[in-house]
Amino acid sequence: MNEQIANLEADALPPSKGLFQERWELLKRNRMAYASFWFLMALFALAIIGKIFTQNIVVFDPKIVRLSEKFLPPLTPYTSKITPQEDAPVLGIYLLGTDELGRDVFARMIEGSFVSLTVGFVAVGISLTVGIFLGGLAGFYGRVKLGFITVDTLIMRFVDIMLCFPSFFLILTVVALLPPSIYNIMIVIGLTSWMGIARFVRAEFLSLRDQDFVVAAKSQAIPEWRIIFIHMVPNAIAPVLVSATIGVATAILTESSLSFLGFGVQPPDATWGNILADGKTFLFDAPWLTFIPGFTILFVVLAFNLCGEGLREVFNPKLRSTR
């Protein structure tokens, strides 16, 4: 997913490198958006390193249960004589304390950051794919008639229908009826959030499809899929990327809400959402179990939102001039 966005971005911008640099400079000027951008980059690095250190080379083991060590507050040094030495946390200290089973919260948070981000990115990847595909079809082949209605009417009415469902209620229904699995959650969140993207892409395609470069491409008998995906999508991608950035944030929040109701990602997979949802039971005895994941989600989602807004301003000259 990450790669896909990177590729699309690369496709969109290289021929006019000056333009990319210009936008980059603009983003730099918006200090909050720029800071969030680097915060997110650091977070991705942390998530990947965390994935390696919790799964491949086990340094932080989130799965060790130490029942004699439960509910230790953050920064408690490891002093237990009951727990075997090999179960001790790294550096001999519980950085963020332990939970109700004596698991190291720091290790779980690190493991959770990879899972939470994956949920966000895969869900957005699915909604991007569906949204670009359907929006592109509606925009490019909009005038083609299928029987008595045009492709455009067909697809846009379908979008209208999807918009009529109360989205969280629909997600909850489907996730609750399906067997609990992290993939179902990603797929369901993705399949219920593509409508906005489809509308954006369609609107962009409507203005692009009669422009000279598309007509030129058609005159050279370039296959239509190539015109759509190589020539037109990169030109329509900017608003889509912005809403994708904000979509990741929404997906992370949706996952945590699902976890709260007990239908989120199931253990043993840790996500910020289910650490928070489990921790709320012990709000008074072990407040760190609630506050650490809660504020992590707040900061990360905030960074995604600010970064998305920053990108929106950078990509939309109209917003820039009114600011």
Binding site: M32, R157, D160, I161, L163, C164, F165, P166, S167, F168, F169, L170, L172, T173, V174, A176, L177, L178, P179, A249, L253, S256, S257, F260, L261, G273, L276, A277, K280, L283, T290, G294, I297, L298, F299, V301, L302, F304, N305, L306, E309, L319, T322, R323
Partner: protein, 319 residues
């Protein structure tokens, strides 16, 4: 005008039929059957399950089940799988509980978002503008139930009131004043928490709309002819900035169901969102379906109203 309304209602009815078909098939095609909710119950024998399935037409093909559902819905005989109560009555009872919550939170959203947004737009790049921008993003980004817990703890500790449920149990005999204060506290907190997200988003919209309007030529004209600043901003500016919010007002109506699941669960508020959640847990298909259908109707009515109001408010739009 009349033609426009009739055409719109007609189109929406067609949409509604498709919505009902899609939601019916989504729910029935997903695995997990009402008869399988309690598989470990030893008193559920195979023939019992058969009887239940036959009673609720679960053995019929999907389209026949759909016809049964529509028929029962419109004759008002649709029964819940869970307790055999009429679905429409269940939903109506819960709807009456949801409405005060919805109205109070809507009032909070609309009465607070506008002053904040206008003030932020008028004093652009001031400390107030920056703070309100940052705070609204923070409020959008915080998981709702986390914020709800923090607020509950804060309010309960500071004011020593109870806030869970619709009223405090055992206060039925208390004087009227105490009872109504109790109701007010029980209503305010859930309404406030459901309002926070909407308020943050709406105040951003108000700000950007005002910013757009403020630099228009007619504003300069109004100032040039010597109108007082208040009149320029509220009569000439705000009125024009208000137009898009007619659309938004229509779109908030469906929040009555979808947005309330989490908050009604936290506050044990017997509203529609919680009814839906309980129905999902019990695989109570008629209730889930009817709720989805009901909220789709709300969306369509909301957009219809905003389309009509838009035409009334903006003389540039002709039907």
């Amino acid at each position: 005008m009349i033609n426009f309304i009739i055409r719109n209602i007609w189109q929406r009815l067609i949409l509604l039929v498709f919505i009902s078909i899609i939601s019916h098939s989504v729910i029935h095609l997903a695995p997990g059957e009402p008869a399988l909710v309690d598989p470990s119950n030893p008193r559920m024998k195979a023939e019992d399950i058969q009887r239940i399935r036959a009673a609720y037409h679960l053995d019929e093909p999907l389209h026949v089940q759909y016809v049964f559902w529509v028929r029962d819905l419109f004759t008002g005989e649709l029964k819940s799988f869970k307790d055999n109560q009429p679905v429409l009555k269940k939903i109506w009872d819960r709807f009456l509980n949801s409405v005060p919550l919805f109205i109070v939170s809507m009032m909070m959203i609309w009465f607070l978002a506008f002053p904040i947004g206008i003030k932020a737009a008028l004093s652009r790049n001031s400390a107030f503008d920056k703070a309100s921008t940052f705070i609204s993003y923070a409020l959008i980004s915080i998981p709702g139930f986390f914020l709800a817990y923090l607020l509950i703890i804060f309010i309960v500790k500071t004011f020593d009131v109870s806030v869970i449920g619709m009223r405090t149990f055992g206060l039925e005999e208390a004087p009227l004043l105490i009872r109504s204060m109790d109701r007010v506290w029980h209503l305010t907190l859930p309404a406030m928490i459901s309002a926070i997200g909407g308020m943050a988003i709406l105040s951003r919209y108000v700000r950007s709309q005002m910013l757009e309007v403020i630099h228009q030529d007619y504003m300069r004209t109004a100032r040039a002819k010597g109108l007082p600043e208040d009149q320029v901003i509220y009569r000439h500016g705000l009125r024009n900035a208000l137009l898009p919010f007619i659309t938004m007002f229509g779109l908030t109506i469906p929040g009555l169901i979808g947005g309330s699941v989490i908050f009604e669960t936290i506050f044990a508020w017997p509203g529609m969102g919680r009814l839906g959640f309980e129905a999902i847990l019990a695989r109570d298909f008629p209730v889930i379906l009817t709720l989805t259908f009901f909220s789709a109707i709300l969306v369509l009515v909301g957009t219809l109203i905003s389309d009509i109001l838009y035409g009334v408010a903006d003389p540039r739009i002709k039907f």
